[in-house]
Subunit: 244 residues, 2 copies
């Protein structure tokens, strides 16, 4: 269990930096160069306001994104020996989705340690903050300790997380799965129809049907059209007896 | 210089397989398990027609894509210590673009060795064939010999190639670069205007202008609107003295 320390809008980074070492230790990480760890938690908005900081975490995030991509690809390749390229790609997209990485980041308690500029962090501006922090931390581990350590860290936390998390369901793209299967088996695309909308404006429920050549059909609902279509696709996959 | 052997529409794979070993040898590759090398050159259309083949190259391509992504990201991170995340991402997108990888694949002479199903390989159906083969070969090297060997192969051929190739120009996205700079410096988007079209229908030339708050402006031309806009963006970047 990771002790969380909530953002106290500190303008100086002193105590956050010290706490960061506790976090790393709780995550089983020991850095040779602690500057990598520190940089992983410097948001560009903080650096903009504090020009004495020479780097923020965006370059580490760029690198970490590719490290994560390879580790997940290798893991899926090895653990799904009979999955097609399409299935592997879909699973990969889910595992590295913002929803999953944000959730994992929250579980690991990363966000409270980030140094943000004043005025950042409110509202929806930082929707990808958690996911980006996970990636910059992975980039830092990779640079500091190499591929093997980064792989170990990712597999330990990500694979453990997806086995227990609901986020994986949110991030699963049933529509794309159905579309691919449809094209392969029936040489056409599934047809979605909006059936009705109920409820007041701020709390609507959308009902959608999906069908394949009027032979297979299913219905779904959700708080917007997209979610309703995803639900309908999921139901139709069940009808077709396809496990996602 | 790699000896090319053109596709002879062989239905059996015997002589192609033997030639494949010469190709590998010319590329400086020695496989422990030659089945990886062979699988890298089996297209799904061939496997569909020859069910005795248990695997095609699509899973290797999935893996190779991520190996390539990390190698290129690491290379760019290391060689561009002052580049922003946005610049690194743009450069990466160019280096792993279909245009660049198709060109590299052609230079290495990979396509003539692929086993295709009958009726494949004509027309535009196989636009990504070369790029996909490079990725599946990278995946095969990675599985057979590990990351270091894959990295060495990619850097040797890809980096050498981009220094001399025109493809890199084709794949450079001037519009995105201009847009990003514009948003950062001027907090607005550049405005594109179609000025005129000349020439007969099958051989039109489009003329486009681009401007930033009517303060900076440039013109470009091309065989379609998209190319003309890219050219205009390129010219305006020159005006702004930004090197891409």
């Amino acid at each position: 269990m990771i002790k969380k320390k909530h953002n106290q809008n500190q303008s100086k980074s002193g105590s956050k930096t010290r706490d960061l070492y506790s976090l790393a230790s709780e995550l089983g990480l020991k850095f040779n160069k602690t500057s990598y760890l520190e940089t992983a938690f410097i948001h560009s908005s903080f650096r903009n306001e504090n020009p004495e900081y020479k780097e923020d975490n965006e370059r580490l995030e760029f690198l970490g994104d590719s490290v994560l991509g390879l580790v997940v690809a290798k893991y899926l390749y090895r653990t799904n020996p009979s999955a097609s390229e399409g299935e592997l790609s879909r699973q990969k997209a889910t595992l590295v989705s913002t929803a999953v990485l944000n959730g994992l980041s929250e579980k690991l308690g990363l966000s409270p340690f980030v140094l943000l500029g004043k005025g950042e962090g409110q509202g929806g501006a930082q929707k990808k903050l958690g996911a980006n922090l996970f990636e910059s931390l992975v980039g830092a581990i990779y640079l500091d300790q190499g591929m093997e350590a980064a792989e170990k860290f990712i597999l330990k936390h990500l694979i453990d997380y997806i086995k227990t998390s609901d986020k994986i369901k949110e991030a699963t793209d049933y529509k794309s799965t159905l579309q691919e299967i449809c094209q392969k088996k029936f040489k056409l695309l599934p047809t979605y129809r909006l059936l009705k909308e109920t409820g007041p404006d701020h709390e609507k429920t959308f009902y959608v049907s999906v069908s394949i050549r009027d032979k297979y059909t299913a219905e779904g609902k959700g708080k917007n059209k997209k979610f309703a279509e995803q639900d309908a696709a999921k139901q139709l996959l069940k009808v077709l007896k396809i496990k996602v």
